[in-house]
Amino acid sequence: MQFKFWILVSLLLVGAPAASADVMPLMRVLTLQDYNTRVVVVGILLLGIAAGVIGSFMLLRKRALVGDAVSHATLPGLCAAFMIMASMGGDGKWLPGLLLGALVTGGLGILMVLWIRSQTKLKEDTALGIVLSVFFGMGVSLLGIIQKMRQGHAAGLESFIYGKTASMLAGDAMLIGGAALVVITTAVLLFKEFRLLCFDEAFAKSQGWPVRALDIVMMLLVVTVTVIGLQAVGLILMIALLVIPPATARFWTEHLQTLVWLSAITGGISGLIGALASALVPNLPAGAVIVLVAAAFFVFSMLFGSRRGVVIRFFEHWKLSRKVGRQHLLRALYEWVEESSGTGPDELAAERESMGISFESLLPERSWHPRQLRRWLRDAMGQGNIYDGSDGLFHLTREGWSEARRVVRNHRLWEIYLIEYADIAPSHVDRDADMIEHVLGRAMVDELEALLRTRYPHLAMPPSPHTLSLAGGRS
């Protein structure tokens, strides 16, 4: 089912150019009848999965852009390998040779980044920029030379910059798929080691794990994925396949295992669609399609992701502000009753019924905007906490009264906690106040209640029997 859905998406994406193409090749590609297409598609699918897996670790290690420097640094290696192979009378475009060259300069690029960062006061971003641009410049210069060489022209090399799967052969794809499988397997085997390294390097080191070696293995995997991705995605956009899938997955989960899975799936699907599109429309850069598919996933996830999506976080924020607003209103009502009755807390309950407050006298109690206050009042009435009496005044209902008392009590306990434990409190105080027992523990709350009675009698109120049951049943 899912598969068909994505084919549909890919059709939409490449719709315009595909419409003009013949229907028969379209069907041939989509049904993967062609052996070559089949192998290429599977190879790129594996590439996307591998990039998604290793990219997750890079994202968590806050090294997302290292892949960008690596991929740009592969160009001189590609060109040099081409020149060497061509001048030795060979084909020049023999893929394993080209990729080996790319691997060498890509790895060299990463080492240079680490070296510059450790030996100078330059920061990581600058080190990345230097390596990226200088290596790329070197590659462009070599490309310039190649274009004027007598033996063979460099037309094929261009596809490494933008990515073009159309020209890929089954053999190339098998090499890519095989390398991707090796990367995936290594990352799975070292899953727990990588998790430790990314989360707490110092602890890993204190445990005797060879942190540096693990780091090198991780970098090696990144270089490998980058290099095998060159032909399909192109060196400029390869970074996207390492960054976008994990960043997309992060919106949906707080668990590393799930993150890696989702990232692998996103990467795989993006690769799949890119490969299909490129097979359909030969001059469409596959890399661009892969990136656009991944970016579409990203935008959707950023908005609607179940864990860190913008919409859900916005909704939670809205819910919180509503709750705080309601609590402010109840507190203001309670305190007004408390003040104007002038009796002790025990008698207050009895007076609640007879006491009402007009909108006008409630307004100055806090820094409310009239419209805001009206909204909170409407809200509280909807919840059955207050009612609009026949006298035109607002009264607390029975539930509203015990709710208000609970809110005021928790608020006062928090305040005392802040006073008594000023040195550590700020990071623990949850102004929302609902969770006081949960955050501080029963013993601490008892202690605070005792303090409230003895040291701050003017704020005192008896713990209501409802309080605990209500607090327990809260969301």
């Binding site: 727990k192 110092a202 602890f203 005797g208």
Partner: protein, 275 residues
């Protein structure tokens, strides 16, 4: 500064009968003549001490005195310019499994996608060994450690949703699960709530009764005499080391904190008279 150093070292030697080049072969941890430098700027000079077995040792000193660096250098996390560390008479590198480390809470990204149980399980990764995945028995071990720090209810919670004190307890549980002989803790009391502070102290006492050796970087002078049997007062060099009630006095505090003690003086006076 540098001309001052040898003199101070001499004075510290007087208050330090325990240090010197003689080390007990059975000491859980001995630091031999260790110097540490960051970018060629020394931060610790000629540290030479033993941590006594089965004791709670506090490491105190002003900001920048090198308290954390001392621990990190012992654990090989920062390079030493000179010196070596032995654990029960053997080089530390061979005895690593006996030593457990609780880093500062700020040292990691608490937004990391793992839950409390995952973090504690990291303590047994060494036992699991290369390539093997985490299995149920390992998780059960971690769960037991979480139980000990009173965090069993939070095992499945993502770590960013825990309070500072709870995060600290997770770190402690991760150290406990290793079942080590020696525990190094970097500011476990920093920014934790009263309940956690009590829980940690309780735990430290448990470890001590089990004969474990614990060293804790600490910055709250008020609680020093309550919490620690043994004390190392540090300010780039060891100012004093010994049983807390013998060396935690005004004189040593002044040497450790220098001019800044004017501010601390009254507080310190109060503490000492209290204890």
């Amino acid at each position: 500064m540098e001309t001052d150093a040898p003199m101070s070292l001499n004075t510290s030697a007087k208050t330090l009968p325990a240090t010197g080049s003689e080390h007990s072969a059975t000491a859980p941890v001995s630091i031999h003549d260790m110097t540490v430098a960051y970018h060629r700027k020394p931060v610790l000079w000629d540290i030479d001490l033993d941590f006594p077995k089965g004791k709670l040792t506090g490491l105190v000193g002003p900001n920048g005195a090198g308290k954390s660096t001392l621990i990190k250098a012992v654990l090989d996390l920062v390079p030493k310019a000179s010196g070596r560390v032995t654990v029960f008479g053997q080089p530390y590198q061979r005895q690593r499994h006996l030593v457990s480390y609780v880093p500062q809470r700020e040292s990691v990204d608490w937004d990391f996608p793992v839950n409390a149980l995952d973090v504690v399980t990291m303590g047994v990764y060494g036992k699991i060994g290369w390539f093997r995945p985490v299995r149920k028995p390992h998780r059960e071990l971690a769960m037991a450690a979480l139980e000990r720090v009173g965090m069993a209810d939070y095992a499945r919670r993502q770590i960013s949703h825990l309070s500072g004190g709870q995060q600290q307890r997770i770190f402690l549980a991760r150290a406990l699960v290793q079942d080590a002989e020696i525990y190094f803790m970097d500011e476990p009391f920093a920014g934790v709530d009263a309940a956690t502070e009590k829980a940690i102290i309780h735990l430290l006492h448990d470890l001590r009764s089990a004969g474990k050796t614990v060293a804790v970087v600490h910055h709250d002078l008020q609680t020093v005499s309550d919490y620690f049997d043994h004390l190392i007062m540090l300010n780039m060099r060891v100012v004093a080391a010994g049983p807390t009630r013998e060396i935690f006095n005004r004189e040593n505090l002044r040497k450790t904190y220098g001019g800044r003690l004017s501010l601390l003086d009254q507080a310190a006076q109060a503490i000492i008279s209290q204890s």
